[in-house]
Each structure stands twice: as C-alpha cells, then as structure tokens.
C-alpha cells in the first residue's frame, strides 16, 4: 500500500477473471464508486479511468492478466479501497 498524498491510497491488482474487466464487474465497480464519498480512479499504465464512469472502465479493455492500479482519494479512502480491489481481483463475476 502506497500513499502519495494525504488521503490518497493506491493499490495494484491483477485481473484474474477469465473474461477480463468486462461489462458486469465494471458495472458493479461503477455502481459502488457512485456510492462512496471518495474519488476512485483506475489506471491501466498511462490510461486513466474515472471509477464512477462505466464508459471509462470498459474503455480500459483490461484482459485477464492486466495489472491495474486503483487510486482512492478523499474521505474514507482507506476503508473504501478494499472493496474496489476485491471486485477487480475477483476470479468470477461479483454480485
């Protein structure tokens, strides 16, 4: 776990879902991001996705094996980030 700014948490995760970060997990991710107080950003190399935007998340086209970085910033960043990492790290489609 690295912290660059106060209240900013970054964690890396590798996609293991055989279908990659496809519509269903990305939808779960975006829905959850809309309900937390902090900003969520996902990085795929230089490519940046707003965690609340399904267009952005899907646009990452992250296949299995891709390494993504999740960044949470703002209130509750530390408590929130785990849920997002869990979604991305899930081997199947989360509920």
């Amino acid at each position: 776990m690295t912290s660059i700014l106060p209240n900013q948490i970054r964690r890396t995760v590798i996609i293991v879902n055989p279908n990659g970060l496809h519509m269903r997990p990305a939808t779960t991710f975006a829905q959850l991001a809309a309900n937390v107080g902090c900003d969520i950003t996902v990085w795929h190399g230089e490519k940046r996705a707003n965690g609340k935007s399904l267009w952005d998340l899907i646009g990452l086209c992250a296949l299995r094996g891709t390494e993504l970085t999740v960044e949470a910033e703002g209130p509750d960043a530390e408590t929130a980030i785990g849920q997002f990492v869990d979604i991305l790290a899930s081997p199947g489609d989360p509920e």
Binding site: L21, S53, W55
Partner: protein, 581 residues
Amino acid sequence: MDIKHGIPASPGIAIGPALVLDTEGVHIPRRTVPADQIPGELARLQSALHQATEDSRRREQEMTTRLGKDIGKIFASHALLLSDQALRFDIEMLMRAESYSAEYAVSRCIRSRVKSLDDTGNEIAQRIRADFIDVEKQVLHRLLGARSDSLEIATQNVIVLANDLTPSETAIFNTKTVQAFATESGGATSHTAILAGALNIPAVVGLGKLLNDVSGGDIVIIDGYEGLIILEPDEPTLERYRERLRNETDSTDRYESLRDSEAMTKDGVTVRLLGNIEFPTEAAACIEKGASGVGLYRTEFLYVNKTTDPTEEEHFQAYRDVLSVMGSNRPVVIRTLDLGADKFSPASGTLHERNPFLGLRSVRLCLQNRPLFKTQLRAILRASCFGDLRIMFPMISTVLELRQCLSLVREVEEDLQDAGIDYKPNVPVGTMIEVPSAAIMADVLAKQVSFFSIGTNDLVQYTLAADRNNETVANLYSPVDPSVLRLIDSVSQIGIRQGIEVNVCGEMSGEPLYTPLLLGMGIRQLSATPRKIPEIKHLIRSLTISDAVRVAQDALQMETAREVTSYLRGQLRRFLPDDSE
C-alpha cells in the same frame, strides 16, 4: 473524389444525395443549429438521456424478474452508460463548440468511443461494442421519436447506402424516391440484388467498408454497369455521368425493334424466352420486352412485410392479375412459396436456425405448414381458369417430397371439386432443380412432372457449398464451374430423353455470356428478368445451334470456372463483333 469498386447487381446510373443506413441503425447526418437554438437542443438532449436511462432501469427490473439477475444487469449497465456525467459533458461541449444538433453530437460522441474500442481490437472491445451501439440507438430513438424510420421518411430522391439490406427492407423502398442503392456486403445474386433488378433500379453490392466515408446528403454516383460508387465526384465526372444518364434512355431502346421478332437462331431453332417476375405489376414489362410468358413468378412478396399470412383471396387476385395481363397464349409459371433462410416473414415466427440455407425453407417449410401451403395451392388452382397457368415447386431435394407435393395438389383439387369451385384440371406441374440431389435424381423426378426449371443460383451455391453473399468465399461461386455445368448438362439431356421441357431460370439465364453454352447443352427455354430479354434475343438471333453445341462441348471439357469464363468471353465477342461492351 473517391471511387469504390463492388459487384454490379443491377444496371443503370444514378446521381443523387445519399441516405445512409447501416445495420446499427440510422446514420445521423451532420446538422448544425443556429446559436439561439442551442439551449433548446441542450434541453432536448437532457430529456432524451433521462428518458433513455429510465427506459433501461425499467427494463432492468422487468428482465430481472422475468429472466434473472444476470440478464437484468445488462440493462443496469446501459442505464449507467446513459446517465454518465462525462458522456453528457462531452456531448454538451460538442454542441456548444460546433453548434451540432443533439442527434449528431450524441452520435459523434458515442461513435468516437466505439472507434477507440475498435482500435484496441481486443476481445472485450468486440463484446461490448454492441452495447455501446445499442445505447446510442436508445438515445437517438428518444430524440427522433417516430422519425427514426428513415426508409419511410425518404420523401426526396435518395440513393440508399447500407451495410446490407434485408429483402423486406428493399421491398418497402419507394422506387419513386429511392433511385439506386449500394451495400457494403452481398453478392451479385443475393436476393436484395435480384429485387433491385426487379424494381429496375441500379444497384451495387459487395463494396466493402464504405459508410464511414459518406455523410447523409452527400452527392454520390452509382454506376450499376461497372459496379462503382463514386463519392464526392468532381465536376467533370458529374458531367460525364449526367451525359451517360441522358444517353441511357436511348440505349435501352437499342433492341426495341426486336420486340416482335422471334427468338430464333440463324439456323432456324426457336428458343422460348420467358420473364422472371416478383410483383404482379411486372407482367406488363414482360410483354413490353417481348417475353413469350412468365417463366418464374415468385410469390414471396405476398408474405414479406406482413404481420399475418396472406389470405386465399390475396393470393388469387395476385395470380389472376398476372394471368389476365398475359392472356391465354402465354404460360405463367407460379412458383410456390420459397420463403425461409434470408427472407423471413414476421407472421410465421421463424425459429432460429444455425444453418438456415440447409434448414427449414421453401417447400420443406410448406410441407410442415400444410394449411399455409394448401391456401396457396387453392388460390393457384382457382386462378388456373384465367389463362395458361403452371405450378412449380422450389427446392425439391427428394422424390418423396415431390410426391407429397403432388398428392397435396390432388387433395386440393378434390376439395375444390367437392365445393363446386371452378379450376382447370390437369394443370401442368413442374419442379425446380436447384439442389444437387434433385439434379442427380432428375431421371426419376422427370417421371412425375411435366417440366423442370433449373434454378442456377441455388444449384451453384449448394453444389459448391459457397454462400453467394459471403464475400470471403464468393470467388468459389460460379455458374460455370465444371461441376455445375455437368449437372445442368445431365438434367438437360434427361429432359430431352424423357420428353419434358427444361427451363433455366436464375441469374445465369439473363447473362448473355452463358446463352450460347446453355443452348449448346440443349436448353430451349430461358427465363430471365424482363429487362434482359431483348439483349438475349439479339444474341440468339446472331448464332447457330451448331456454334452453340461446339461452345458447350468445349466448355464441358474444361477443368476450372475461370477457364470456362474466359473462353465464353472470347466466344461472345465472336458472336457479337459489333457490340463493343
């Protein structure tokens, strides 16, 4: 200026504004609005996005209840995409900066996202592409409302450009406004192309990627002779084509003088030239072009674009109309329903088939839907009193199928007799030979019927197992592939030996290149689109049967379709040295 080459599907020239359709719905033309209307456009956008989001949420609930969470979630995704703040922001920016209409800005924004997906070429991108397009459609639907059906709103003259057109789409074309069409996919003998020929409008198919380079309203030129579409034509090109368009009217009259002459070879052998028609209104064209009857009256138009199956009365009137135009001396061959596969009818609720061309279509469909089949047969038999009518069954693949069809005809005759309704007894019944199995068994089939009609389009595709609409294998599809020639020759010889007429319908019979070959194999009846008849007649009058026999003998010795084609080209130049085409 950009010239694209495709397959010429229906001859003619057209110049006009493009109406762009694609499989993904309406292609929105670039439209700007005056600055003072921008706030109104923004409000329209906001409301459309809101409504489309609500639509998706409703569908999410509905589907979750009906089909479960997984399916429901698809629509939850759509709702998220539709309510996305960044998307809305991008669209609004574009509208403010460029004064674009809401429709065009939506289309631009979503298409640019689709394009970046396509650029990655990765498998996730391929899977979600359809969702992005669907989302676009939903917003556009809300913005355009009932106006979204652009085929029907085409009130000015247009040239329709599409990835592909279904036959039913082609059928609703208003030929007063649709001057021509061009498609990215498709082959020369696709049903769409056949329909274009029947509607007598120029068409080019198989152009490959095209739609991204055209905007609605751009002036384009369609050259249906060469199979070209010219985008952004320059002034000299436009002038050249306008000139050709003016001359065209003259050249169609070129063989006009032959209308009343017989289709007789130089050595006195008569060939019967018949017309293929799709709609009753085309019967007049047959006579005008000098056809001695209708060799193929397709009846599918009665079924497509209908929500219910046609009534006996609708059938009857359509047949009687044609018979009354043709009179008592010109035969009219009515082909029973040849629906299925690519020509779907919403009424019959076609099941999903993995391999529709090898599935439940045509006479197979009829034999499994007896009431539907008998309705048509009753109408045909009733109409038989009004002229020289003949019945023909399509896609017969076994002797048993033919027997079943024949016994149904007898059954319907008995019903009519019992009801005291008039019909002509002993109406000639024939079968199409378009499945290789039927060609192989032709000697047995010949005992049951009074004529054969070789449907070359299907015979070619089934013999070579190549889909004529699939441009990646269309090169295999050739009516002069030696395998096909052997089948046609054998069927023709069986007809001669067993004393039944053998007709050839299908694209092959309308193509002068193949006429000498067919005559040389013993064919004495050709049924083609009426437009082609004068030209074919001119050619027949320019050769002798012994020429034709030599051509057939030579061609039947050859090993590849390419060899045969180039040989036939040389022969055609010999027979018609004055025709520079």
